[in-house]
């Protein structure tokens, strides 16, 4: 049920994910952060079994940090992607993690990169991608609207079009999304990336929590 959409712009990666934690037909909460910040420059969006997501993303985060301490250099986004792929491929033969991931990051000197990784251990470098049911709806939207070297405004516009499409065609209404960005300044949450008709922000956790409190 989780939705994760990411796209690479001119010198940044934009990642959006819904903030709903649900079990069966019950919504538990609407401020679940599904975009893990692996280190200063890397974002890992994860969908799937919530327990697996928590366990696996934290495992990756700690290993990235351990490597940095041991080797004195940090892993590149590409190296992290291959490490994740390897861990998932290994787990697949034992007890698979039921999670699908999008890794985005910024590397000094190399720029941004974005990787699609699924629970079977497939790894693809992408310019834009989506995980979950979202992929059925938004990939065509992205195919049509995505342009290389977009600036932040343009990229957010494309993202908004994707979420509109989801709102129109997807059975489940996911009202709140969190948007994070990775660029040369590091990773951070984009507060108020989207503002709905009434002027209340709908994109961030804070926005979602506020909306939940008022309803």
């Amino acid at each position: 049920m989780d939705t994760a959409i990411s796209l690479a712009g001119k010198d940044f990666v934009l990642s959006a994910a819904d903030v709903t934690a649900a079990r069966s037909i019950v919504v538990m909460k609407e401020d679940q952060d599904k975009i893990q910040e692996l280190d200063r420059f890397r974002l890992l969006s994860a969908g799937g079994d919530l327990g697996d997501v928590a366990q696996f993303t934290e495992y990756i985060q700690r290993n990235v940090h351990l490597y940095e301490l041991r080797a004195g250099t940090s892993l590149s986004t590409r190296q992290i992607a291959h490490f994740i792929r390897g861990e998932l491929a290994r787990a697949l033969r034992e007890r698979p993690y039921e999670i699908n991931l999008i890794l985005g990051g910024y590397d000094q000197g190399e720029g941004t990169s974005l990787y699609y990784i699924d629970y079977l251990g497939s790894l693809h470098m992408m310019k834009y991608t989506a995980q979950g049911y979202a992929a059925y709806f938004v990939l065509s939207t992205l195919d049509r609207l995505y342009r290389p070297n977009m600036n932040l405004e343009e990229a957010l516009e494309v993202l908004r079009a994707c979420l509109d499409e989801m709102g129109r065609r997807f059975l489940l209404k996911q009202r709140h999304f969190m948007v994070k960005i990775a660029d040369e300044r590091g990773v951070r949450v984009l507060e108020n990336a989207f503002v709905d008709a009434s002027g209340t922000p709908t994109s961030s956790v804070t926005g979602a929590a506020a909306a939940a409190a008022t309803s």
């Binding site: 041991r70 080797a71 250099t73 190296q79 291959h82």
Partner: protein
């Protein structure tokens, strides 16, 4: 008295020394000489070939191409001083680690990370009981995207360090002091690969004797682009006999000239 503290590697003597580790270091300072020089366009390793028997079957990889030089991965090579059998065991570890790293991260292993692993393996045998330490020192030459060309040494105690130029094995004290004098102080004026090879040959000639400048008696390897023009394909490889011969000739001429001017 000291024998009481000789037998167990992992026991300190009352003076706070680990005799077995010191003996291992001592053994290496009698082994065939190796030296490494960091250059602006590569790293060069040079070593003395000790076994010159006519009966050697030179078709074998070890006996012909290399007595003391080993490839760890495409971009890292090492020279060995000490017990070759111990070196073999550690080199297998290093090769395995390099390939595991490539498998995990899809990128060649950073040089220092690999050196650190080997140093850790050596250190463990100075601490955990009953086994003798590895009686071998290494010079590692390599390249990675973080620090470019690099040269490291690693000794039986588990210490390692990065160097611009270093010698191990026999005559290492004399060779190191000569390298200190001859290696340019200004970091901008790093020697080129060509100068580095000549410097290596000169150090051997002066610390051993002039007759060592023979392709049968010295072996040279390096990490640098296979084709200097393209600057791509940075690989560990042997220096060809032809190239060595001409370098040796130049050094011989230079030394003869120097001694000539001294005499007049």
């Amino acid at each position: 008295m000291s024998r009481r503290y000789d037998q167990r590697v992992t026991t300190f003597s009352p003076e706070g020394r680990l005799y077995q580790v010191e003996y291992a270091l001592e053994a290496i300072s009698h082994a065939g000489a190796c030296l490494g020089i960091l250059c602006s366009d590569g790293v060069v390793l040079a070593a003395e070939r000790r076994n010159l028997s006519k009966l050697l079957d030179k078709r074998g990889r070890i006996t012909r191409a290399s007595e003391k030089m080993y490839e760890i991965d495409n971009h890292i090579g090492c020279a060995v001083a000490g017990i070759t059998a111990d070196a073999n065991a550690l080199i297998q570890k290093a090769r395995l680690f390099a390939q595991r790293y490539l498998y995990t991260y899809n990128e060649p292993v950073p040089v220092e990370y690999l050196v650190q692993q080997i140093a850790d393996a050596k250190q463990s045998y100075t601490q955990f009981g009953g086994l003798r330490p590895y009686g071998v020192s290494f010079l590692f030459a390599g390249w990675d995207r973080h620090l470019g060309y690099q040269l490291y040494n690693s000794d039986p105690s588990g210490n390692y360090g990065g160097w611009k130029a270093i010698a191990i094995g026999q005559h290492h004290a004399a060779a190191n002091s000569m390298l200190r004098q001859e290696y340019p102080e200004n970091p901008e004026a790093m020697p080129t690969m060509k100068d580095g090879m000549r410097l290596a040959a000169k150090v051997f000639a002066k610390t051993i004797d002039l007759s060592i400048l023979d392709v049968e008696k010295l072996e040279f390897t390096r990490v640098c682009p296979l084709d200097a023009c393209t600057n791509a394909n940075i690989l560990f490889h042997n220096v060809s006999d032809e190239e060595l011969k001409s370098a040796f000739e130049e050094v011989k001429r230079e030394l003869a000239q120097a001694s000539g001017t001294e005499n007049t």
